[in-house]
């Protein structure tokens, strides 16, 4: 497939990996921030091909994994209402709330639908004027433009039966939180290229300067990933602390101005809880007050709903890169994709699910034993 196969060319990837091998002189710990990158790394087995000095830890960049329990409970409460068509990206259906998931709500008669785009939910609202259509607007900066567009489109159409339940998070505050942690081990970051395609990377030089950790804008195909890793290793080996762009075909310093304008028109920065990590100040986006009529939390009066998370698994430490999925005693035993203990096991972008699905634990064991 054009523009994909070129970036999966085995010989080109091997060439870059050889270059990484020639460059590296000591151990380095890198974090890929994005769950899509984790998925790609494990699916293509890129971590197996890297020299042993380089350790990849998997960051909190899976939107499904970090959506807080409280928001899931709010979603479940809204979705169970008979007057509601609840629309979600597919991954979210399996995420457990306090006592059930969206699959269970659906099985009990809730109208829960998987959509590929929030604009599909707007169309549903047009077609079903007697129903309230709610879209579960989760994600990082990548999904923000379509999500805010759904609100602008609904406003433009004068729809009174469309709203969104927002749980948006942003990458820079998460990186800041990880680097501020006393347990931090990360020495270099692979930035999430799709996030940077929207936002550019002008937000990162201050972080690099403050924490002294190089960051490299990185894409998602195997060749993109190894080039991002090579660039990070080069910076580390040369002692350079800066932001570099290894995904130039998609990312500019400034990013997409029209998308950013749309986001700023509809969203404003707010505090946000991250499942497995906790509250990170000003780490999310929420709807501006002038868009209250599209705010599902207000429309369905679930703002005050609170949920206590119980400490049963180590998803939090995995999301922060402190532990690998197979370090969890529940991994693959009590905790599997059909029966997830943590959100990291639910989403195909979650580190645990990627490890489980691609059998990394068995391969790790067979290599080390």
């Amino acid at each position: 497939m054009k523009y994909v196969t070129e970036y999966r060319d085995a010989e080109l990837v091997k060439g870059v990996i050889d270059e990484i091998r020639r460059t590296v002189t000591r151990p380095w710990t890198l974090m890929e921030i994005c769950g899509g990158q984790t998925h790609s790394i494990v699916r293509h087995g890129i971590d197996q091909l890297l020299p042993p000095q380089i350790e990849l830890v998997h960051g909190p960049g899976c939107p499904v994994c970090v959506t807080p329990l409280e928001l899931i409970d709010k979603a479940l409460s809204i979705a169970a209402r008979p007057d509601v068509i609840f629309c979600s990206y597919g991954d979210m259906l399996r995420v457990p709330g306090s006592s059930r998931d969206l699959f269970s709500v659906k099985a009990k008669g809730g109208d829960v639908r998987v959509v590929y785009s929030p604009l599909d939910a707007v169309t549903l609202a047009q077609k079903n004027p007697d129903k309230q259509v709610v879209f579960f607007a989760i994600g990082f900066e990548t999904t923000a433009p379509p999500n805010v567009m759904s609100v602008l489109q609904a406003q433009h159409l004068g729809l009174k039966n469309f709203s969104i339940l927002v749980s948006h998070v942003r990458v820079p505050p998460a990186i800041s939180a990880i680097l501020s942690s006393p347990h931090n081990r990360v020495q270099g970051f692979l930035l999430a290229g799709h996030v940077n395609a929207v936002m550019g990377y002008h937000e990162y030089p201050p972080l690099v300067e403050k924490f002294g950790v190089p960051m490299v804008v990185t894409g998602f195909e195997p060749l993109d990933l190894v080039q991002g890793i090579l660039k990070t290793v080069q910076l580390l080996e040369e002692g350079k602390v800066e932001v570099a762009n290894a995904y130039q075909r998609a990312v500019t310093l400034e990013g997409l101005k029209p998308a950013q304008d749309a986001i700023n028109k509809v969203f404003m920065e707010c505090d946000r809880k991250w499942r497995g990590i906790g509250m990170i100040p000003m780490s999310g986006w929420g709807l501006r007050p002038e868009f209250d009529e599209f705010n599902a939390e207000k429309r369905f009066d679930v703002e005050s709903l609170r949920a206590e998370e119980s400490p049963l698994c180590i998803a939090g430490q995995i999301l922060q890169g402190l532990k690998k999925p197979h370090h969890c005693p529940a991994f693959g035993k009590q905790c599997t994709p059909e029966n997830p203990l943590g959100a990291t096991m639910v989403s195909s972008e979650g580190a645990c699910a990627a490890y489980y699905r691609y059998g990394r634990v068995e391969l790790t064991q067979s290599v080390t034993s």
């Binding site: 979210m92 269970s104 942690s181 905790c335 059909e338 997830p340 699905r357």
Partner: protein, 354 residues
């Protein structure tokens, strides 16, 4: 942001959900949840040798000269008509294929129709005509049937359940338990055509596709293969749950491993493109006109050549081999040279968020 207030709370997680109390859609997706349901709800209750074997059809010996292969399959596809096929063709081919996968010649089918009040008579006629044509091509007769009508809103237009019986060819022993280390894994053509064609017909792709479902009766292909080599070990059609789930079933049944080569697995470029955009994996997409054959290495070329000479096997390729270790697992050698496990489909196949 105010950095001094950053507070990492540490481990948090939700309690598990087992879905033991209600049927959810994942129970019908053909993956691990379906398997668990079948084991817990049905196999434990009905217990017998033929059922316990766990193949797509049951091998029974009612004291006749030849063994019989019996299978049944319910069809609930939406929409009823899609590029390359419809629920009627699917209902005939699905059961014909399941019966044939034990090395049998399918002979007779039955068909049960659940019709929704308000279904246009013309729709029913078109479906029945399609069944007639598919049965004719497969060389089977539909010899008995049943009709029920349910109230408007209680069915998606129509559901069809077919059952089939065939006679097992003498001298063959085809079953999921027979894969042996050293055997070769052959796939009859491209993966995922049916899954993506149906998604496209539902209007869920968001883009136009000319892709056709691969739904087809495979019994003549199987007959030709068994003519070439009566020694074929395993035949199975990778329907719901896709190739990944089918091979995992075989690996467990045979207590062996299966090693695939990623580059050798054929996928139509349109299917690949749809998967890239929607976040699906072709290994888990449904097929309705493909089979995997596991054959002794020395017979592989002969079987492959025969397959390639037929209409439904012309895209046949060798995609891997059976290995002794790791047992009950499917591995995949990636194009980059690394190795990963290919697991069974868990519950429902969900598109990824981004």
């Amino acid at each position: 942001m105010s950095e001094e207030t950053v507070n990492i709370e540490g481990a948090v997680c939700a309690p598990p959900l087992t879905h033991n109390e209600l049927i959810v859609m994942g129970h019908g997706a053909g993956g691990r949840m379906s398997h668990q349901l079948i084991q817990k709800a049905f196999v434990s209750a009905f217990q017998n040798t033929a059922l316990n074997a766990g193949d797509d059809a049951a091998l029974v010996e009612p004291g006749l000269r030849q063994k019989l292969s019996i299978s049944t399959d319910s069809h609930v596809v939406f929409p009823l008509f899609f590029p390359g096929g419809d629920i009627g063709k699917l209902a005939v081919c699905g059961t014909v294929n399941d019966v044939a996968m034990l090395g049998a010649k399918p002979l007779y089918l039955t068909a049960g129709f659940i019709l929704e009040e308000g279904l246009p008579m013309d729709t029913l006629k078109r479906v029945v005509e399609s069944m007639r044509l598919a049965a004719e091509e497969a060389g089977v007769q539909i010899v008995a049937g049943d009709t029920k009508v349910v109230q408007k809103g209680k069915a998606d237009g129509m559901y069809i359940t077919t059952a089939g019986v065939g006679v097992v060819r003498e001298g063959v022993n085809v079953s999921g338990v027979n894969a042996q280390p050293g055997d070769v894994v052959i796939l009859s053509g491209t993966l995922g055509d049916h899954g993506i064609a149906v998604l496209g017909a539902r209007g869920e792709l968001g883009f136009q596709s000319s892709l056709q479902s691969d739904v087809a009766p495979l019994n003549h292909l199987i007959a030709a293969m068994l003519d070439a080599s009566p020694n074929i070990h395993v035949l199975r059609d990778p329907t719901r749950g896709g190739l990944a789930t089918t091979l995992n079933e075989i690996a467990v049944q045979s207590n062996a491993g299966i090693l695939l080569k990623e580059e050798s697995i054929p996928v139509h470029p349109e299917v690949n493109a749809a998967c890239e955009m929607l976040g699906f994996d072709p290994l888990y997409l449904a097929n309705e006109g493909k089979l995997v054959a596991i054959v002794p290495k020395e017979e592989a070329e002969k079987v492959l050549a025969v397959m390639k000479s037929t209409k439904y096997g012309e895209g046949a390729v060798i995609i891997g081999e059976v290995v002794a270790e790791p047992k009950s697992r499917v591995l995949l050698k990636t194009a980059l040279g690394s190795t990963r496990v290919v697991d069974m489909l868990a519950g429902e196949m969900l598109p990824r968020i981004c």
